[in-house]
Symmetry: C2
Subunit: 362 residues, 2 copies
Amino acid sequence: MGQDKPKYQQLKEYLIELIDSNELTKGNRIPSENELAGRFNISRHTVRRGISELVNEGVLTTTQGKGTFVNQGFRNNRQNLIIGVITTYIGDYIFPSIIRGIDQVLSENGYSIALGCTNNQFEKERQCLENFLNQDIKGLIVETTKSALPNPNFELYEEFKKRNIPVLFMHGSYKGCSASSIYVDDVEAGYLATKHLIELGHKKIAGIFKIDDIQGHARFEGFCKAHKEFGIALNDNRVLWFDTNDLKYKFSMQSGEIIIEFFEDCTSLVCYNEQIGLKLIDIIRGKGGIIIPNRLSLVSFDDSDLAVASEVKMTTVAHPKEKLGIEAANLMLKMITENQEVFKVKMTPELVIRNSTGPVTG
Amino acid sequence: MGQDKPKYQQLKEYLIELIDSNELTKGNRIPSENELAGRFNISRHTVRRGISELVNEGVLTTTQGKGTFVNQGFRNNRQNLIIGVITTYIGDYIFPSIIRGIDQVLSENGYSIALGCTNNQFEKERQCLENFLNQDIKGLIVETTKSALPNPNFELYEEFKKRNIPVLFMHGSYKGCSASSIYVDDVEAGYLATKHLIELGHKKIAGIFKIDDIQGHARFEGFCKAHKEFGIALNDNRVLWFDTNDLKYKFSMQSGEIIIEFFEDCTSLVCYNEQIGLKLIDIIRGKGGIIIPNRLSLVSFDDSDLAVASEVKMTTVAHPKEKLGIEAANLMLKMITENQEVFKVKMTPELVIRNSTGPVTG
DNA sequence: ACTTGTTGGTTGTGCATACAAGTTAGGCAT
DNA sequence: ATGCCTAACTTGTATGCACAACCAACAAGT
């Protein structure tokens, strides 16, 4: 053995080499403490110290009276590579795709995902964060909860920073927090959608946006930007805002009349996402008379499964979804190796033209 | 202090109490080893042993020359309640709902989810299992990968059993493995779907099923059972089998002619799931001439979002999805408290009648 | 003002020893 | 042959000692 390292350390390395070279394998008993002490001419106490560390690392198990045994092989690669992922919702709409993208990259690199889900509540976000602080995670990817509001869990994020655990925010980061983030340019998305309609000759364009969601605001901003750029006046009556609760009631068949009245004098519609878009298509179909895209052109956002589910294949501005997840995961891996650097990545959405939009008629 | 427990253990408890009662909080230095040794009249070595265990548990940090300090609070509730969840796919179809159901229950009970995803490959399943063996999980919920084939990762499941970590299989368990499982009665599902058509007067019923999936077999079995029960002959030419690879090619517009020919002389169709159902509706719509349900009644399975996405609202046999996840999670919690018992839970699917089916005409 | 050395305190490594407690196998008595 | 006991071996707990490495603060010298 060498001379600089402590003896118990040298013993550890000796034992690990025995295991790695398969001279000792799962279930085998290692020499007794006294035997090792005698063989290397060190005290039993020193042997015990080395062994106890390996027990802590999960390599060995000791049983009083019987001996010390090599564990079942699995813990030999003594790494615990977990990335925490916190999203607002699992299982809805585009979130699964994002998670799948993340998983794809991470699992290829030997990491696994620990999942948390906030349901857009700060309290649950806090729980998730505390949970992850108790685990030995190597990084954290967070989809921000209520990103427009000040975040009460700020100190917990600071704690990750203190521990040198990189944190990456998705879909916008919290104010005043100089953390890394990856997000989609939703202003551009709104702009692209609206511009597409304008270029088809539309001038009376209605818009439906979500009010309690930063993406809704951003898409509306793009909506305005396009109007301004092409010198088209923006009519407030043509913009409809809704929030999460409205989803169940506002867009049902029963209230269909009201909705249809809303965009009656328009030739086209920018629609916050495809869940809403699909409900509108249903309402319009039920009502009869209005044909897409002849009478009404419809642009939506995200390009989820729902975009092509009905007979009307929606023109939409595609959210990168899986690609966003992949980018996020790659970025996280980069952050883990390159210490503490701050990245800001913007992803650009793309217009996908299908047959829910057409040139303005009549 | 007491008398039965080892002294280093008593010291640990003493220190933890100091921390829990906030007499020592994050960042504080604890008394030096010599001081503690003197105060309790034990040897410094014994003190060191107690402290070293607390260091290992993440409660304390020692620095040579400076002293030993209390860590930043969060690890004080020294629990690590994680449940491993392995599914074939994340993000597709009904799986997100199942995961959401699991998360809902577990997070309420202070657990968090560690996610793994096999893409239906044994190799990746193995990776996930080894990963979870390296973590300190309290239970494992597995959606079986290629459940019809013998499983090469059997020994890994055995290892969980050995460590007293309960394992719960979803959607069928591996052969020869006496583990707990929760599953949907897919034979009943196939039976319900077919019976519904028969009761509407249909006698020429086509079927499309997935061959590399145990659910496909089961639903087909129910399909046969209904035919037999009502004394209707089963024609092999009316049953079409496909596997995962076919998804991309077999059910596209290009090959639409062949598909349509296949059920040309039938009045109704039992369709493996709604992904396929929707593609068929697309093909039929593109071809023109065939109207659902007038010329062709269509029953599908699962009741996902896709069932009501198009203008044809599909009659379907509903998979419990989220409810299955909730049940699975509850069962897991039960298994954790009640040691090593084996549960078998069967969930019954329900027929949801919409307007893709109607009485036979002509 | 700055460097250097000393001093006393802290944790880190290491040795020798003793007895307690659990496991196993072989020997003895029944 | 069966069952109990003991001896020998294992790890677990505990003490006492010695010196090394490191840290902070203060004092002395430049």
